[in-house]
């Protein structure tokens, strides 16, 4: 039925374990003996043999899990490379969940949770899930694709099926965050049977079509434990108060479209409904905002810790008015409509802010449509002492500003800056931004994630290699002068796990000089760089435990010369050999795949 890869091992990431595994926890750390496998990353920890997290595809083997983890309760899989979010990974690349669910359905009867990220999930998968696990509780599909609302109907309906056969089947969480769902109709929600009262979390914000409102209303009314509800855009504002009345216990709410004709009774109903939600701490949604309705949320602002206004096309004064009423805000996502003025106000009001994300309202226009500059971020770095995580889209930046930010906030652990224009220099001095980012990695010693942009030479990579010792994930675009840039990063960043690069002049030498580094990393992505086909082959020869995949949609890989540059390269460590579901435009550079298959028994018998 399906190809069972020969299993060796997989990577378990610590820190994923929640507090519920306290009682009866058995932790076994197993290190493989040196003569079998030399590298320390092969150490594995089992936690009650209950949770499996697989951070990269195809490293794992199903067979191994089958033999070792019959008690599995929770599976979390992350699949496609991060750059798939930006359309850099072609369709058909891989990441199909179906073979997995087929096996899991067979051997994990106690499975309760499935969390998937960037995978291709079909309706058949969802149907299988719905039929196979009597204790199934949590389904999270994050940035997935390939399924439709028919599949969701199966999930919703399975309660009915299971209630007939088993005593307890209660869906607790259905979270479709940012997945692309084929929206055939809104009827899927109506499939939740009346007996389903266990729902705690429902996130359907990514769905376009209207769901049956009375079905939604009834579902909410009979779910006393519902804590998270993220509606989709099609739920009209006039009806929001009706839903809130039935769920005053909500902790997180995502509104639907936040617009309606201006009518006093709609407003007053809404304001009153919000005021009854005493537990509400997170708000999101806010599509199509009509500003006159915003004051309806003022009664909850003082409690809010999380606010996502990144779809709200409201201007700076309106945004500012809201955020300045949220003194307990820890996480804020906004559009750049907030402007520098709004960010300055934020820095004065929200002293507990930990995370700030500012998205571009009009990313494809060169000229600024809003007055948002580097000054806004500087202000927040000054005023918000707990700021740890930044995602900032803007149109200008300077070394001076970056240095100020770095000095203000040495506690940053995630810094992602996107200057919209590729290779944009320091707008004041017209120099590269090497020194600014250098200051970031110098001062922010705990920095784990960094995304670069703007005009950058090899110098910035020297700084990063020397200073960013805790850096785990680095994203680079349109930067660097030569191979030395890549070499600095690969040879210097001790903690590096994920490296993704596009449109940089990095080539063969740096790659081949640092092959052993690649085995300590989870993955490397390079697209539109200067890596040759021959280098990929040599890399693969040197490192049998790496899958070196060349993605090239022009279709003539076999006839290309070794000197020709590859379009896209994805390298990841594996013990399972080349994956067997590659489409025709992807080649694994492994010349002798069969030699590398170790047997599972041998590995685990020692």
């Amino acid at each position: 039925m399906l190809q069972v890869f020969e299993a060796r091992l997989f990577e378990l990431v610590t820190g994923e374990i929640g507090s519920e595994l306290v009682a009866g926890r058995i932790v076994m750390a197993i290190s493989f003996r040196e003569e079998v496998l030399e590298h320390s990353w092969y150490a594995i920890e089992w936690w009650c043999q209950r949770r499996i997290f697989i951070g990269n595809c195809y490293v794992v083997s199903l067979a191994m899990k089958i033999r070792r983890f019959p008690e599995v309760r929770s599976v979390e899989l992350k699949w496609k490379p991060h750059f798939a979010d930006f359309n850099l990974v072609p369709d058909g690349w891989g990441g199909y969940f179906y073979p997995w669910i087929c096996e899991m359905a067979r051997v994990y009867p106690l499975l309760e949770e499935i969390k998937l990220k960037r995978m291709v999930v079909t309706d058949e998968c969802l149907e299988l899930i719905s039929k196979s696990f009597k204790n199934f509780k949590v389904l999270v599909l994050s940035s997935c694709e390939g399924f439709s609302t028919d599949g969701l109907a199966a999930i919703a309906a399975n309660c009915r099926h299971c209630c007939m056969l088993f005593a307890s089947w209660n869906l607790r969480e259905l979270d479709l965050r940012e997945s692309e769902v084929e929206d055939l109709s809104g009827h899927w929600l109506s499939h939740f049977p009346d007996s389903c009262t266990s729902l705690q979390s429902l996130n359907m914000s990514c769905l376009a079509s209207e769901v049956n409102f009375s079905a939604l209303q009834r579902l909410i009314a009979r779910s006393p434990n519902l804590k998270t509800l993220r509606l989709n855009r099609a739920v009209p504002l006039e009806k929001l108060s009706t839903l809130l009345h039935r769920a005053p216990q909500l902790v997180e709410l995502g509104t639907g479209a936040y617009s309606a004709e201006i009518r006093p009774n709609v407003y007053s109903n809404l304001a009153e409904a919000f005021s009854r939600c005493k537990e509400l701490m997170g708000l999101s949604g806010f599509w199509d905002v009509v500003p006159s309705y915003l004051p309806a949320i003022y009664s909850v602002c003082s409690r809010l810790t999380s606010l996502n206004l990144s779809y709200a096309t409201i201007q700076s004064p309106d945004v500012t008015k809201i955020v300045t009423q949220c003194p307990n805000l820890q996480s804020l996502s906004v559009l750049d409509y907030i402007e520098d003025a709004g960010l300055h106000a934020l820095s004065l009001s929200c002293k507990d802010l930990r995370e700030l994300r500012v998205f571009p309202s009009d990313p494809f226009v060169a000229d600024a449509n809003v007055s948002l500059t580097e000054q806004g971020l500087v202000a927040v770095s000054e005023g918000c002492l707990k700021l740890q995580s930044v995602l900032y889209f803007c149109r200008q930046m300077s070394n001076a500003a970056l240095t100020t930010i770095a000095k203000n906030r040495p506690n940053l652990n995630c810094f992602r800056l996107c200057i919209l224009e590729p290779r944009a220099p320091d707008y004041l001095t017209l120099e590269p931004l090497d020194n600014g980012f250098g200051a970031i990695v110098d001062h922010c010693k705990q920095l784990q994630r960094l995304s670069l942009s703007g005009l950058l030479t090899d110098l910035v990579f020297e700084y990063i290699g020397n200073r960013a010792k805790k850096l785990e994930m680095l994203s680079i675009a349109f930067a660097g002068d030569s191979d030395m840039g890549l070499h600095h990063v690969l040879s210097g960043c001790d903690s590096l796990r994920k490296l993704e690069i596009r449109d940089c002049p990095f080539g063969d030498k740096a790659l081949l000089d640092n092959v052993s580094k690649l085995e300590t990393m989870r993955s490397l992505w390079m697209s539109s760089c200067s890596v040759s086909l021959g280098a990929c082959k040599r890399l693969s020869q040197k490192m049998p435990r790496l899958n070196v995949e060349v993605i090239d949609e022009q279709g003539d890989l076999d006839s290309r010369s070794d000197n020709s540059p590859v379009e896209k390269l994805y390298v990841y460590r594996t013990v399972a050999g080349p994956r067997l579901d590659m489409p025709s435009f992807i080649r694994n550079m492994d010349q002798n795949p069969t030699c590398r298959r170790y047997s599972l028994e041998k590995l685990f018998s020692e």
Binding site: F86, N87, L88, S143, V365, S528
Partner: protein
């Protein structure tokens, strides 16, 4: 009665071999090589010329437009794309992949690349898509209709849908005027709309996207009422 039909073309993305960066097929404009004096038509013969624009799908929504040969019927605005011309044989309304012999004209100063800036497709889709249903009233008709403006990529498509919806109409699209005509009695209807400020506006003056955003309802006004005395000069392109 002359009808126009818009061919649905399958828009694919392909990497352009000339540069490092990747481009996506942006839009295809069908230009009839023969124009009747009353209405533009596309039939399966004679062959038509297609202007194929290549750029980023994200700058403008894809537009299928009818226009005069030799010119780009779209308002370009801040378009950063380059165009190629090719010969197309159109046969009906089914999807057909284009056999293009791509001739590259000079590129504009800046090309946009796939995946930059790194804004997720989900966010891009969420930000722009949605339903924009507006009522359409026709003077003298007993009941109104509703259309979702988000479904259309331009004025011509919208007018075509009126043609379909109100079967008595034909698009009377001569040079700069956008009107609908009832051929039975010769009555002309001028498409107007009510904008956010409550003002009655002539359809077609502003770029399509701006129109979609500001349009509250549409009224097809009898020309006698609209005044065909030439009080307003159409500036439709």
């Amino acid at each position: 009665m002359v009808r126009s039909s818009i061919v649905t073309l399958y828009i694919t993305s392909q990497s352009f071999p000339y540069t490092h960066s990747h481009y996506q097929l942006l839009s295809i404009t069908i230009i009839p090589t023969k124009m009747s004096s009353e209405a533009s038509t596309i039939t399966s013969e004679p062959p038509t010329t297609a202007v194929v624009s290549i750029g980023s799908l994200s700058t403008n929504d894809t537009e299928l437009t009818l226009g005069l040969p030799g010119g780009n019927s779209r308002k370009s605005g801040a378009k950063r794309t380059f165009s190629v011309t090719t010969d197309l044989k159109l046969g009906g309304t089914d999807r057909s992949s284009l056999e293009c012999s791509v001739v590259r004209r000079s590129p504009s100063s800046k090309e946009q690349v796939v995946g930059w800036p790194p804004v997720r497709s989900y966010r891009k889709n969420m930000a722009k898509s949605g339903c924009k249903y507006v009522k359409v009233a026709v003077d003298g008709a007993p009941y109104l209709r509703k259309v979702d403006l988000e479904l259309y990529s331009g004025y011509q498509q919208l007018l075509s849908s009126f043609e379909d919806m109100f079967s008595c109409f034909a698009i009377n699209n001569v040079m700069e005027e956008m009107k609908l005509m009832d051929p039975v009695n010769g009555t002309e209807y001028v498409p107007t709309y009510e904008d956010k400020d409550g003002d009655l506006m002539l359809v077609g003056d502003v770029p399509w996207k701006m129109f979609v955003e500001s349009c509250k309802r549409i009224r097809l006004m009898k020309n006698s009422e609209a005044g065909s005395s030439g009080m307003y000069k159409s500036q439709l392109t």
